[in-house]
């Protein structure tokens, strides 16, 4: 219990509410707070320390009501998470049976005098299940007539749970976020061996100064602190600096941390890759680090590339401008368009509003005008369009029938289409309304 830092207030509040095992308690408690604010930690250690009878349920795992009920009953029955023999498993598929079996189970275990705690983690998932589950759980004390306390944990505020004709509101308890000092204190509680506490403290402060602006998640920060520590002490191990040389160490680590913010924090490279990369950095400079997003190059067939480019142009250009870009003799219209140019600038560009749907005819028209040589509209071409859809490069737009007059949207980014057009020597930005 004393391992837990900065949560004294919440611990006393909860343990007061729990009281003695034989006392009745509030029917339901709702704990909310950001990720990694110690909700599960506090609760689980409170329940485990006092050896209170409890069942932990993760609502992501138990995604249907049947799994939920059977999990609770079976854990209660066997007294642990271990799997029972299949013949002994309790079967239960509706709330009515659950309440009945729960009563039986508690009485047979001699728990009718003690409070049973049922902890539902990720409780926001309960909203997606059958409508009767949440209100019934909140009333479980009344429905079973037994000493039961439901505890819900979530990141979402309680107001978003209400629906229908309402139900018994639980006691809502907020777990506040850790302040910067508290974060430092918690991370510093585990100092790596061989380094003084003050030194590590300074390092953690450095990391936080870079990351705290964008991220307050304790887990994520801790992970980054541990991962980058090796690089931080590298000048010391190699003998270039001493522990006191804070400035030198800072100079050494700062670019690394900035890079880590863009690559590691976004999981573009995995942690092991990052570690390997840092090792290689020691031996040779300039090791190219390619993340997931840099590998967005996809090899497509020739016509598919042109189809995709045509789809992109159709999605991001207004239909009116097609004549200007793709018609053979466009001299006359150009003048009028120039007049409109001032007006056009005021409007938000299409690259901010996202792709517009376009009909198949327009796609084919643009395709034929940009592709070199004669291409017959064979079944292959249409096959390629559908395969682009199944690759999620194109998406079906809503409405209308899918065979007669299908509409599509282009779902790839500008960088991607630029890369694709470069491979076929087509300059896509010349044909884009926003850039032309």
């Amino acid at each position: 219990m004393d391992r837990i830092q900065c949560r004294d207030k919440q611990i006393t509040l909860l343990s007061n509410l729990f009281g003695q095992p034989n006392q009745l308690t509030v029917p339901a408690i709702f704990l909310y707070g950001h990720t990694a604010t110690g909700k599960s930690l506090v609760l689980n250690s409170l329940l485990a320390n006092a050896k209170l009878p409890h069942v932990l349920v993760n609502c992501v795992e138990c995604y249907s009501q049947r799994f939920l009920y059977e999990h609770i009953l079976n854990v209660l029955h066997s007294g642990s998470e271990t799997v029972l023999e299949t013949s002994q498993l309790i079967k239960c598929d509706n709330m009515n049976d659950f309440v009945r079996l729960l009563k039986q189970e508690m009485i047979s275990k001699g728990l009718e005098k003690q409070t049973l705690y049922i902890v539902l983690d990720k409780a926001e998932r309960l909203r997606d299940m059958e409508q009767n589950i949440l209100p019934a759980f909140l009333r479980l004390q009344e429905l079973t007539g037994l000493n039961i306390c439901m505890i819900l944990m979530s990141e979402i505020v309680w107001e978003k749970y209400r629906f229908g004709t309402g139900f018994c509101d639980p006691l809502v308890i907020h777990f506040p976020d850790y302040s910067k000092d508290e974060l430092v204190q918690i991370i510093c509680s585990e100092v790596p061996e061989g380094y003084p506490e003050g030194f590590y403290n300074m390092y953690v402060n450095l990391v936080l100064s870079i990351f705290h602006y964008a991220c307050r998640n304790l887990k994520e920060l801790k992970h980054l602190v541990i991962l980058n520590f090796k690089t931080y002490v590298q000048p010391i191990t190699s003998g270039d600096a001493t522990i006191g040389d804070t400035k030198k160490l800072w100079k050494h680590i700062e670019p690394h941390l900035k890079k880590a913010l863009h690559t590691l924090y976004l999981r573009e490279v995995s942690s092991t890759q990052w570690e390997r990369y840092q090792e290689e950095m020691e031996t040779s400079e300039n090791v190219a680090l390619q993340g997931i997003s840099h590998r967005s190059h996809v090899d497509l067939p020739f016509y598919s590339k042109y189809l995709l480019i045509a789809a992109y142009l159709a999605s991001y250009n207004p239909a009116k401008s097609d004549k200007k870009f793709f018609a053979k003799n466009s001299g006359k219209i150009n003048k009028r368009l120039k007049l409109n140019q001032a007006k056009r600038k005021e409007r938000t560009s299409n690259h901010m509003l996202g792709p517009k749907p376009f009909p198949l005819d327009r796609l084919m028209a643009i395709f034929y005008s940009i592709v070199e040589g004669r291409v017959a509209p064979t079944a292959n071409i249409f096959m390629q369009i559908t395969s682009l859809v199944s690759l999620h490069f194109l998406g079906h737009a809503t409405g209308e029938d899918q065979i007669e007059q299908p509409k599509y949207k282009c779902l790839v980014s500008l960088d991607f289409i630029k890369a694709v057009s470069r491979t076929v020597n087509f300059e896509v930005s010349r044909y884009l309304y926003d850039f032309a």
Binding site: N16, Q20, Q23, P27, L143, W158, H351, A397, K409
Partner: protein, 434 residues
């Protein structure tokens, strides 16, 4: 010697405090049966008469008890049934079936539950045999074969409105039908919080319902509310240590007149008048009782009020990072400028960039980092996608979103935000001056 005596005294005190706490906790939780009823004597009498008539003279009835959440519907019924069990003629004569719309989610389950509770012959132990059609036929035959002289049954149907959503309302139709014809005398007692519940019923079901409704409204004045506060927190005559009980009750009387407690009660009273929320408010102070803290203090109630009255969204906004806060401010500005039109990530990012580049002191983040922050806001449900059809239709940058935080909430959150840079709070307050 004196020391030992004092220690014994202390431990005795602690025992009494613990006993008090246990006593009060039992009173405050859901399972307990409250004894006193405030201002519902007329309804109570009516209900009592009705059930008695069914139980003794074999009259078939149906009634709906309607009232807001926490106004004492179940309590009223429980206390009526409790009183009826004291009369031997009723107790021996009346069978009870309790149904709840939350538990019996369809008619099949409800039928099994009815046969189980009536312990008919197709049940062994607590197992019920036969298919839905068989059970229904069996049950109907059993009920129809009875006459005025057979044992009356009381059906208490809680969350009655949920039964109206069952397919064809078969169960309700059959129950009301039996109550209308000369078969086994039954009394259907529906409990619901929907005022328009009769409109939910099908025409044939509605016509068989007796249209007798009992409306329960909480008509507590503030003085009565204060009285309620005292009576819930006082120790009853069957508390083992009567000396302590009278002392305690006196202190509760004094506490109810304490200015700050009155203040808390007034706030709660203005928010809602139901008894349940008051009980929840009292739970926290009661739980605080311990050896060092033997009497309830006004401060406890203020603390409890504070816990229950925190603005949860503001509390969540307090914990987001500065980058996420910047995004929320951008969205607020977009809402102000475009008059509540939905926006997408690209617009928000552009708005953010406009601000961040103007301030040289600010760290400008890459698009992916900002997107991650944006997605965190979606996960916290501070921002909601307009259509929840999933990601395949449009890239996530272009999904249309709407902000679920009120502009005033943003501004108040900014004031409480720890170490908020001044430029951000300035930017937040002026949306158009860019």
């Amino acid at each position: 010697m004196g020391k030992a005596k004092k220690q014994r005294q202390d431990s005795e005190d602690e025992d009494v405090v613990l006993l008090t706490q246990t006593w009060l906790r039992t009173k405050l939780c859901q399972t307990s049966l409250p004894t006193e009823i405030h201002g519902l004597s007329k309804e109570r009498r009516e209900l009592l008469e009705l059930i008695k008539r069914t139980a003794i003279s074999g009259e078939s009835n149906s009634v709906l008890v309607v009232g807001a959440r926490g106004c004492g519907k179940s309590m009223l019924i429980k206390s009526v049934l409790e009183e009826l069990t004291h009369e031997t003629t009723v107790r021996e004569n009346l069978l009870q079936v309790h149904l709840n719309g939350l538990l019996q989610t369809d008619d099949k389950v409800a039928l099994k539950e009815i046969t189980r509770q009536l312990q008919l012959e197709n049940t062994i132990g607590d197992k019920v045999f036969g298919s839905f059609a068989e059970t229904l036929q069996f049950l109907l035959e059993a009920l129809k074969s009875g006459s005025q002289t057979s044992k009356p049954i009381l059906f208490v149907v809680e969350e009655f409105d949920l039964f109206a959503f069952h397919r064809n309302q078969t169960l309700l139709y059959n129950l009301f039908d039996i109550s209308q014809s000369a078969q086994t005398p039954i009394c259907v007692l529906g409990v619901t919080c929907r005022l328009d519940v009769v409109e939910l019923l099908e025409k044939r079901v509605k016509s068989r319902f007796s249209h007798r409704q009992l409306h329960l409204f909480t008509s507590l004045t503030f003085e009565e509310y204060q009285q309620l506060f005292v009576s819930v927190l006082s120790l009853g005559p069957d508390f083992p240590d009567q000396k302590h009980a009278s002392q305690w009750n006196k202190s509760m009387q004094a506490l109810s007149r304490d200015a700050s407690v009155v203040d808390v009660l007034k706030k709660q009273y203005e928010m809602s008048r139901d008894v349940r929320s008051l009980k929840q408010l009292m739970m926290y102070p009661v739980c605080q009782l311990c050896g060092d803290h033997k009497w309830l203090a006004a401060g406890d109630f203020q603390d409890a009020m504070q816990i229950s009255a925190t603005d949860s969204k503001a509390a969540m906004l307090h914990g987001v990072s500065i980058l996420e806060l910047c995004l929320i401010i951008s969205m607020k500005h977009l809402n102000d400028i475009y008059d509540g039109e939905p926006f997408n990530f690209e617009m928000v990012y552009k708005e953010y960039q406009k601000f961040a580049q103007r301030r040289s002191s600010m760290q400008v983040f890459d698009k992916p980092v900002v997107l991650k922050a944006f997605e965190h806001l979606i996960a916290l449900e501070l921002v909601r996608p307009l259509e929840s059809t999933g990601g395949t239709r449009v890239q996530k940058e272009y999904r249309l979103m709407s902000l679920l935080v009120h502009p005033s909430q943003v501004l108040t959150a900014l004031q409480k935000y720890p170490n908020c840079p001044t430029e951000i709070s300035q930017w937040a307050s002026c949306s158009l001056a860019v």
